[in-house]
Amino acid sequence: MTDSKEIGALAISRKGWLRSHQWLLLRRTVQVVILLLFLAGPLTGVWLLKGSLAGSRFLDLVPLHDPYIQLQGLVGGHVPTTTVLIGVLLVGGFYLLVGGRVYCSWVCPVNMITDAAAWLRRRLAIEEGMRLARSTRYWLMGMVLLLSALLGMIVWELLNPITMLYRGLLFGMGMAWLIPVAIFFFDLLVAKHGWCGHLCPVGSFYSLLALGSPLRVRANGRQECIKCQDCYAVCPEPQVISPALNGAEQGRGPVILSANCTNCGRCIDICAEGVFSFGSRFHNQ
């Protein structure tokens, strides 16, 4: 295994800095552009996306709605309106196609914070720390739904750092900035990939949405793998790689099938041998 400071060095020397960061750069661009689409209205008066990540209207016409919030409202006893149903179908349908956790790595603002924490963690070589079960997030997701039903309210929105951060940026921050700061230090000092990888119920809901999504990362070139471990080092969900990368002997196909893969494409960037690429989940031999 390479030294922590040299993660990606091989890929950079082989492919150049830009090509070994292309998906990362694209992802950051998309995250920032989506935020700017929302910010354009209040800042310049040109209204592209009005509302926030919880629910919005594109060009004052197309409704977009977060399915997990609506599910909480539904179990809390509120029947969604037609507008909301259209919005949920549009958003849900999109993630069904591209992978639910594309929301996490390409849209969610908290991703930038936890990615920053993970980067600094690697730079400072902080060991793993508190070990949480990866399944904790599903327990949390279920508990939020149970509480929503018991209390008759949308419970996670009391705490949800994603929408809180967006609301803060768009409508006024108050003390809401403390929550992303807390998540940054939690991920940096307490648990590796702690928030997005182990706790966030929103991400876990989106992962369930995408159990069968056609767009997946494939390890088509797995026979070229030189076991440098760089992909494991940068992947926010490293447990998803192994079955596809090392599964040839057990007869497993090269597609990363786990719904917890966020389709961030960082493994594609970091691999000097070009093992990974985006592709479909089909023809998995």
Binding site: G76, H78, I154, L159, M173
Partner: protein, 262 residues
């Protein structure tokens, strides 16, 4: 490996799995307990100074419906509405306004309601004057200028439903003995809770305040009937004419009683 060893390993791994799951479930349950109590407290009534936008469902149902997207805030032309930050007493992210700062202007085209995608602001409220965001109450009769005998009248004049939601009721000024008090009187049948009276009150701190209906309204027992209303409904008195019994005077000529003298 012998059968016994395989069995032992299976047992140990089952034990690890069960303990791990129990640990996670316990942690999540503890967290859920905290979140549940926090949520339950948030779903209590709003703080007295915070009003929901017009057409908001009652607080309990509102919190299951409102998705905290802020589209009502964007639609409000007067920047009346705002979203609660997490440190505030109002449920995180939900819209509200503070009447003393910016009251609701009761736009007849109801931009906040039509912008709301979730139905948390009731789209069937087509007449904005039927909104019941709260109720104005003259809280401090000791400092209200009209109660002191002056003719301030500002709350009355600023009311969008002048003479309906607030009227000035004439009463005798017992202090001076010869003047009239014009008492601002709020009528819940018409008051929308827009808060323009509270905003316009000239005092350092408003004497008239809009407060949530649960705080402002009393309720008569279900069995109460107001005699004068029943009478006007029926067109006549509901009790029969009172019997006029003959007056019975002392019988002065009784031999048993002495004659009465004042």
């Amino acid at each position: 490996m012998s059968d016994a060893e395989v069995k032992d390993q299976a047992h140990a791994s089952r034990r690890r799995f069960l303990l791990g799951s129990a640990k996670t479930a316990c942690g999540v349950a503890l967290f859920g307990l905290g979140l549940g109590f926090y949520g339950a407290r948030q779903s209590e009534a709003m703080p007295y100074y915070a009003m929901r936008p017009p057409g908001a469902l009652d607080e309990k149902r509102f919190l299951a419906a409102c998705i905290r997207c802020g589209q009502c805030v964007r639609a409000c032309p007067y920047s009346t509405l705002r979203l609660a930050a997490p440190e505030e007493k109002v449920a995180t992210g939900t819209p509200y306004f503070i009447a003393r700062q910016i009251p609701c202007e009761l736009c007849e085209n109801r931009p906040c309601i039509t912008a709301c995608p979730s139905g948390a602001l009731d789209p069937t409220l087509t007449d904005i004057y039927q909104a019941r965001m709260g109720l104005a109450v003259v809280m401090d009769q000791e400092s209200c200028l009209n109660f002191l005998g002056l003719r301030c009248d500002v709350c009355y004049r600023s009311c969008p439903l002048l003479d309906k939601a607030i009227s000035l009721d004439a009463q005798h000024n017992r202090r001076s003995g010869k003047h009239t008090l014009f008492i601002p009187t709020v009528h819940s049948k018409h008051c929308t809770g827009c808060g323009k009276c509270e905003k316009s009150c000239v005092l350092e701190k408003a004497a008239i305040k809009v407060v949530p209906l649960v705080l402002a309204k009393g309720e008569l027992g279900k069995h109460y009937r107001l005699g004068w209303e029943e009478k006007s409904k029926a067109g006549r008195s509901l009790i029969p004419e009172q019997l006029d019994l003959p007056d019975r005077l002392p019988e002065f000529d009784s031999p048993l009683q002495p004659e009465w003298k004042p």
